[in-house]
């Protein structure tokens, strides 16, 4: 416990709040990598998930469903650290792009699977009513399936972003900037205060992300759907 109290002193250390190794700069770096990877993830996974969920009939749909769910399980089994190290070893280091690849790769499955499952689980009666009233395919997807599936979609996006923030921390080990630097550099210099400071910052960032998504849920999900999804 003492060590943690002691580490809090690190936050007041000289140059802690300015310069390239200052907290603001590291935080911005971390957010930049994370949000960039998150945006790419969402751009890839959301449309595919929505479409696969929407086109649910027939054998190809069943196969794609199986593939989507398997991808999520596989992503859970893949060790992030190993993937990051391998990517950096196999490519010329010093570039951010190779590191983005595993970040995105590991974040796509949760978004894909939850979006797909969310749309698929929409009551067929709703779809029938929507079509029966004369909605076109795109209208059914955007006006009915998407809003009803939104709680699960947001859950997938949240899982992905938290996963990315965590992986980006680990990526400091292979040379990425961001908050992970404090942990990795602290470890190699045997400075626990720096490690603890970095860890606290990462934890705060993850918890804040969680809170942002909780707010987003309240703001974006219709009360009619929220009420239904609430546990009893």
């Amino acid at each position: 416990m003492n060590a943690i109290w002691h580490a809090l002193g690190w936050f007041g250390g000289a140059g802690r709040w300015s310069g390239a190794d200052g907290i603001p700069h590291r935080m911005v770096e971390h957010l930049w990598y994370s949000l960039l990877a998150f945006a790419i993830t969402a751009l890839i996974a959301l449309p595919i998930g929505l479409l696969l969920g929407h086109l649910r009939r027939g054998r190809p749909a069943a196969l794609s469903g199986f593939l989507v769910v398997s991808s999520a399980n596989a992503a859970r089994a893949l060790p992030t650290l190993g993937l990051l190290i391998l990517v950096v070893v196999l490519t010329t280091a010093g570039d951010i792009v190779p590191i983005l690849v595993p970040l995105v790769l590991l974040a796509v499955p949760p978004v894909l699977v939850n979006t797909y499952a969310g749309v698929r689980q929409v009551d067929p009666g709703l779809r029938d009513a929507a079509e029966g009233m004369g909605m076109r395919g795109r209208q059914v997807l955007l006006k009915v399936e998407l809003p009803v599936a939104l709680p699960l979609i947001l859950l997938g996006l949240r899982t992905a972003l938290i996963q990315i923030i965590s992986t980006a921390t680990i990526a400091a080990y292979v040379g990425l900037g961001g908050l992970g630097r404090y942990i990795v550099d602290g470890y190699s210099r045997q400075e626990y205060d720096s490690m603890a400071g970095g860890a606290i910052l990462v934890i705060v960032l993850a918890v804040l992300t969680q809170a942002v998504f909780a707010g987003l849920h309240r703001f974006a999900v219709s009360p009619g759907v929220r009420r239904r999804a609430a546990p009893n």
């Binding site: 196999l90 689980q121 470890y187 009893n232």
Partner: protein, 247 residues
């Protein structure tokens, strides 16, 4: 037998000579450590999650705060928890085991509660009507029905733990993760073989553990196997899958 040649400087992804020379040395050591570090937290987490989940299902007012805590726990990156625990338990196995146990807990408690809630009210009522006492009802009726959902959570937590242990390598306690670090810091330039060996072993370990747990579940719940499934059971299975997917 396929040493691919896409490595840097012609270095293959996998050199069998490394595996041959090290399988009963560093590789075996790392694997043994990995097994201890990934399964101890699963057991610990399960031991705590069961009574906690039962309590949450019994006293429903308890559940929302517990759920809030577990969902925040779930969001915290493992590396963050590892580093914080160094302050309490130093550079020991405990420092990795306790955070992973907490992580397991955060997956399992909701599974236990959801599982118990999936017990149909009419089944519970008829058990009461037949004279089952609370404890007997729990052990003989409610827990078996909750089992598939609980096992679903256990599989997710186990697979996640197996892959997360390697992150511990950043503080020097990482099981197979140590091999990744070894490969990265190889004297005279990075050496892909130990990294690939570690990744492959982790993935295989995760798949085997998942398979074993699935077989255990099928053995423990023979009624889920029989061909004709009632509509309710099918629906419960779907929600179970959905919950599993949602992780």
């Amino acid at each position: 037998m396929i040493p691919a040649a896409i490595g840097t400087g012609g270095e293959p992804l996998l050199r069998w000579s490394y595996v041959r020379d090290n399988y009963d040395g560093p590789i075996w050591e790392a694997l043994r450590e990995h097994l201890v570090l990934s399964f101890t937290p699963v057991l610990l987490g399960l031991l705590i999650a069961l009574p906690l989940g039962l309590a949450c299902a019994r006293w429903t007012r308890l559940y929302p705060p517990v759920l809030a805590v577990t969902s925040v726990l779930y969001a915290i990156p493992a590396i963050g928890l590892f580093v914080v625990f160094v302050a309490f338990t130093g550079l020991t196995y405990t420092t990795v085991v306790v955070p992973l146990a907490l992580y397991t807990l955060s997956v399992l408690v909701p599974s236990v509660v959801d599982g118990l809630r999936s017990v149909p009210e009419h089944v519970r009522q008829s058990a009461v009507a037949m004279g089952f006492g609370p404890l007997r009802r729990l052990v003989q009726v409610e827990l078996p029905i909750a089992l598939p959902v609980v096992m679903g959570g256990l599989r997710v937590a186990t697979v996640a733990n197996i892959s997360l242990v390697s992150v511990g390598a950043l503080i020097g306690i990482g099981g197979l993760g140590q091999l990744m670090v070894t490969g990265m810091k190889w004297p005279g330039g990075a050496y892909p073989t130990p990294i690939v060996v570690a990744i492959v072993l982790i993935v295989v370990l995760a798949l085997v553990a998942d398979l074993v747990l699935m077989l255990v579940q099928r053995f423990l719940t023979p009624w889920e196997r029989s061909g004709r499934v009632s509509r309710r059971a099918a629906r419960a299975a779907r929600t179970e899958r959905a919950a599993e997917v949602a992780r």
